[in-house]
Amino acid sequence: MKWPAMGYARVESLDELWQVLDAAGPEAQILAGGQSLLATLSFRLSEPSGLIDITRIAALRGVSVAGATLRIGSLTRHAELGRDPLVAAHAPILAEAAPLIAHPAIRNRGTIGGSLALADPAAELPACVVALDATIVVASRGGERRVPAADFFQGLFTTDLQPGEIITAVEVPVATPASRQTIVEVTRRSGDYAMAGLAAVLAMRADGTVDAARLVFFGVGSGAEIATGASAALIGAPLTRATIAAAQGALADDLDPPGDLHGGPELKRHLARVITARALDTFLASAEQAA
């Protein structure tokens, strides 16, 4: 279907954005990369009164490191995320996730801010930023506020973003020598939304002891799902096949997946267990990996 009739305005700065937002009213939406928003217009499921194009606001661009924080501008495109050396060095899971998002042409337009604001339950980046314990920087006419990623996502396509607010950046604690990060997903075809996916971020000592763990699933619930029990099962002991098995066991209480066209909840639970092992196996001491 063709897009519904709507208005369009492009803004060059945040100040201009606040003005246009005030004038446009609550039915207007923010347009960033548009790779999900514009597709949904063809479903005529949403009919915004207008789209406010923020893609030329320079302040929303760029990747930088300050102290122990990696700041990723919200307009950073998936393709840029995938090739940015700072991202690769300080938040390797994001560099690993980028090629999993759809296809090159989509990655050339889609932005991290847009993906987080949409909060698609099967999307990679929301799970990654939750696993990284990142902070979502949100701005409005009234100023800036910082929301822990885990609090930002509030369910199916729902976030803490209030009317008049946009995401300006994501702040990620930089990886340390103890960091272990990986993302694993099961898709029917390359680039498809995941049947089940896992963003795993651990802190491990040299002896293998896990000091911190955040296992965050996607595609198995209403959003980025922190597996609290499974994560806890890993903490305080060296990572072994036994602790991984314990984490897998804990998923029964952590996840309550809905069925979809691929299959029922049991399929999702099973795949979640499988990818838990596949993700964590990569962090096992090489001696145990070989075993």
Partner: protein
């Protein structure tokens, strides 16, 4: 080989016979426009006063249309008119899709837009015409249509049960057609068998997903009473007849133009109510109306196919010889049989084709074709073949396993001998000449079976499950009128070609078969160049216009090369004779002593050039006064061709699939695929290989990915390309194609069809490979598509 001169038949090299093009991989002359974005698809055509149509489609699987309020829609800016079923019925007669030779077949009359009830979700109910497609859609959104939802008959298994919703009460029940073929004594053979294996298979309902959606522009000219239709279709002449008949016009007043087609695969050979509505609206409005289906409309209203449940039994003796196949097929076809091919042919093909590659005596197969409230099904690439091949080859592997025989060995033992032809199959199919054993031999040269088996054993020790699967198949091509014509359908089994020499010595060939991307125009150019004796670059091929091309059936059932190609060859030969007649008069030589090579008349014995064709053209067209008065000098010839000896030209082949099943996730990774097929004489090996590869991947789609999923209310859930999974590049294997050539003797050309072989055999080969991979784990899958969910269930991993 038939008597057609090729370098090989003469023991010559290609250089000795420069305009020998048959058997040569010539690039398609019409490919350049495709790669430069300069093709002309229907949506690329714009006309003065063009308006655009959009449809309100039923949100219910079954509903009474209570009322239609068009006022708000008509008030939408840009909306020109709104049409209901009653409006269009005034100018268009309904059609009923039955074939007389399918005894007892019944279906209900269908209108461009329904009059009283919608019978599937996605059926067009009201049309809005506007200045733009967007405005037409706005108009649709503003329509107020009241539906009274009715109980829907969704499940085909209960369509004939007491209490079923009878979709068309005037038909009495939901039975469209049933037929049983029976040969020998199946019960006795089964009773006396050493082993009987049995299984129930499902082939998932899927659809063609042409990348170019269905597209049509109808342009009725009130001044001269003509209807010109720009149509993305496989069968321009058939559609000309349909438009003329239903709209009560003379055939000569209807012209169907079909330039480039963005994929068809059988999807675009049917009469679609919304497209008929476009023709009606143009006739009423006296201006051109365009309709380009969007992807939602494509999934909900393009024909679907292959929604079958098949129970099968195979009885074998102690040596592994096949004694009897006993098959029961059930298919749900939606609420109407699709015009004019009908929706009973797919099931009928299952009856015709099961057990096809094998020699056995006892056969029983029943198909039962029922109505249901889902999108209509009909002929899609390889109609019925993948179903019959899945059942047959699945049972063969079960028998091999039951007897402890190697899958190759059991096929070798039972495939019809290559010297057994002509012969008739237990299902009644007449085979002129097939090459199952030669094809198997060729396949075994290509597939490193020993290496694969060694790797398989090694990998299993490491918990990696790989499988190798085989599937022999037959394919029905070059159909005679026995397929449709005898049933009363106005579907032409004959086809024609006109070949003309222009003054500069170049040739124009006008053909009734059409180009859908498979390379029809390329092979016709090759055949004509070969037949007349000119460089292929001197041949221009024209297809897809009922006003200029000889009457023909178009493209379906793999007939382009075999039927259209033979017509082209015969007219080329006739033109060559005529040219030589004229040349003889001009050169004062016997025509028989002359030949045409690379566009020049030469002395046959010495090869000496006597006259370029351009000079002959100049004389004939501009200085005819210098030629003998009574010399016939028509440098244009038309020939038509139809098969007469056999109802169909059967082809055969065998495929093999090598794959790996991830038994933790249920995902299947395709490693390699092979196909050997025998399509008779190969005109352009590259094009045949690419037809086979493309066909295999469509078969892979049905086997692993594609599924039109409905919920129990008859709502289609897979309505986008994100939900309906088509094969994409990353998951596809490299495919190796080999050939055996057994030309048909029905024609000089000897060509049979090649476009459906890949699709016919691939799903069965993949199923057998998956089951080979899973065999150490005691799991088996028989329902397509073989999804992770189904594989994990078979493994017992999930319940």
């Amino acid at each position: 080989m038939n008597e057609i001169v090729t370098p090989k038949s003469l023991g010559l090299s290609r250089e000795d016979l420069p305009n020998s093009y048959i058997g040569r991989s010539v690039p398609r002359p019409n490919a350049r426009k495709l790669v430069e974005g300069r093709a002309t698809y229907t949506d690329d055509v714009t006309l003065p006063r063009l308006v655009h149509a959009a449809f309100l489609r039923s949100p219910h699987a079954h509903a009474r249309i209570v009322s239609i309020d068009t006022a708000a829609a008509l008030a939408v800016p840009g909306v020109v008119r709104v049409f209901t079923g009653a409006d269009l019925a005034k100018v268009c007669d309904p059609w009923v899709a039955v074939l007389a030779h399918l005894k007892g077949m019944k279906s209900a009359p269908q209108y461009p837009l329904p009059l009283e009830r919608a019978t599937w979700q996605g059926e067009a109910v009201v049309a809005v015409v506007a200045e733009t497609r967007a405005a037409a859609e706005d108009g649709v959104a503003a329509l107020a249509v009241a539906f009274d939802a009715l109980p829907a008959q969704v499940d085909m298994e209960t369509a004939l049960a007491p209490g079923a919703v009878v979709i068309h009460p005037e038909l009495g029940d939901n039975l469209v057609f049933t037929r049983t073929a029976e040969t020998g004594n199946v019960e006795a053979a089964i009773a006396g068998a050493h082993k009987v294996v049995e299984a129930t298979f499902h082939t998932g309902r899927h659809t063609g997903v042409t990348l170019e959606p269905r597209s049509i522009i109808a342009d009725y000219n009130r001044a001269d009473g003509t209807l010109t239709v720009h149509h993305s279709t496989q069968a321009p002449h058939m559609m000309q007849n349909v438009f003329a008949t239903q709209l009560r016009m003379a055939e000569g007043d209807v012209r169907v133009i079909c330039k480039d087609v963005g994929g068809s695969y059988g999807i675009k050979v049917h009469v679609y109510p919304d497209e008929m509505a476009v023709a009606c609206m143009s006739k009423i409005m006296g201006r051109p109306v365009k309709f380009i289906a969007d992807r939602f409309e494509a999934f909900g209203s393009d024909i679907h196919a292959r929604d079958h449940r098949i129970k099968g039994r195979l009885a074998v003796d102690a040596e592994g010889r096949f004694l009897a196949f006993d098959i029961d097929d059930l298919t749900g076809i939606g609420p109407y049989s699709v015009y004019p091919r009908t929706s009973a042919v797919e099931g009928n093909q299952v009856v015709n084709l099961c057990g096809g590659p094998y020699a056995f005596d006892n056969y029983r197969c029943t198909t039962t074709v029922v109505l249901q409230n889902k999108a209509p099904t009909s002929q899609y690439r390889a109609v019925g073949h993948p179903i019959a091949t899945t059942v047959t080859e699945g049972l063969v592997d079960l028998a091999a396993e039951a007897l402890g025989i190697d899958p190759v060995a059991i096929r070798r033992k039972n495939l019809i001998r290559d010297d057994a032809y002509p012969c008739t199959s237990p299902a009644g199919m007449k085979f002129e000449g097939l090459s199952h054993h030669a094809s198997l031999d060729k396949l075994l040269e290509m597939v490193p079976v020993e290496k694969i088996r060694a790797d398989q054993a090694e990998q299993r020790k490491r918990g990696v499950y790989r499988g190798l699967g085989f599937a022999s198949f037959i394919e029905l091509t070059n159909p005679s009128p026995f397929m449709y014509g005898i049933g009363g359908a106005k579907i032409s089994a004959q086809d024609g070609c006109t070949v003309r020499m222009d003054p500069d010595g170049s040739l124009v060939a006008l053909s009734g078969v059409t180009e859908q991307g498979q390379g029809t125009e390329a092979i016709l150019a090759q055949i004509v160049a070969h037949g007349v004796g000119v460089p292929v670059s001197k041949v221009k091929v024209v297809t897809g216009d009922t006003q200029t091309t000889p009457y023909g059936g178009g493209t379906w059932a793999c007939r382009g090369a075999g039927i259209g190609g033979e017509a082209a060859l015969q007219s080329a030969i006739a033109l060559k004779e005529q040219i030589l007649e004229v040349a003889g008069a001009m050169l004062q030589a016997q025509a028989a002593s002359l030949d045409i090579v690379m566009g020049e008349v030469v002395d046959k014995a010495t090869g000496q050039v006597r006259m370029p064709l351009a000079e002959l053209g100049r004389i004939v067209y501009y200085r005819g006064d210098t030629l003998p008065k009574d010399l016939a000098r028509e440098l244009v010839q038309t020939r038509h061709f139809i098969t007469k000896e056999y109802p169909f030209a059967f082809t055969n082949g065998i495929q093999a699939s090598w794959l790996e099943v991830d038994v933790e996730t249920g995902m299947v990774k395709l490693l390699e695929h092979w196909c050997v097929e025998d399509c008779g004489r190969v005109i352009n090996p590259m094009l045949v290989d690419e037809q086979v590869r493309g066909g295999i991947v469509q078969g892979i789609g049905g086997a692993l990915y594609e599924h039109c999923i409905y919920n129990e209310d008859g709502q289609l859930l897979t309505t986008t390309l994100a939900d309906y999974l088509v094969p994409m590049a990353a998951e596809m294997p490299d495919m190796h194609v080999g050939h055996v050539e057994t030309p048909t003797k029905e024609s000089l050309l000897g060509a049979k069809g090649a476009g459906e072989a890949g699709t016919a055999g691939a799903p069965a080969a993949i199923m057998n490979a998956i089951n080979d991979a899973l065999s150490p784990l005691g799991a088996r899958v028989l329902a397509q598509p073989f999804t992770p969910d189904r594989i994990l269930r078979a493994l017992g991993t999930i319940a």
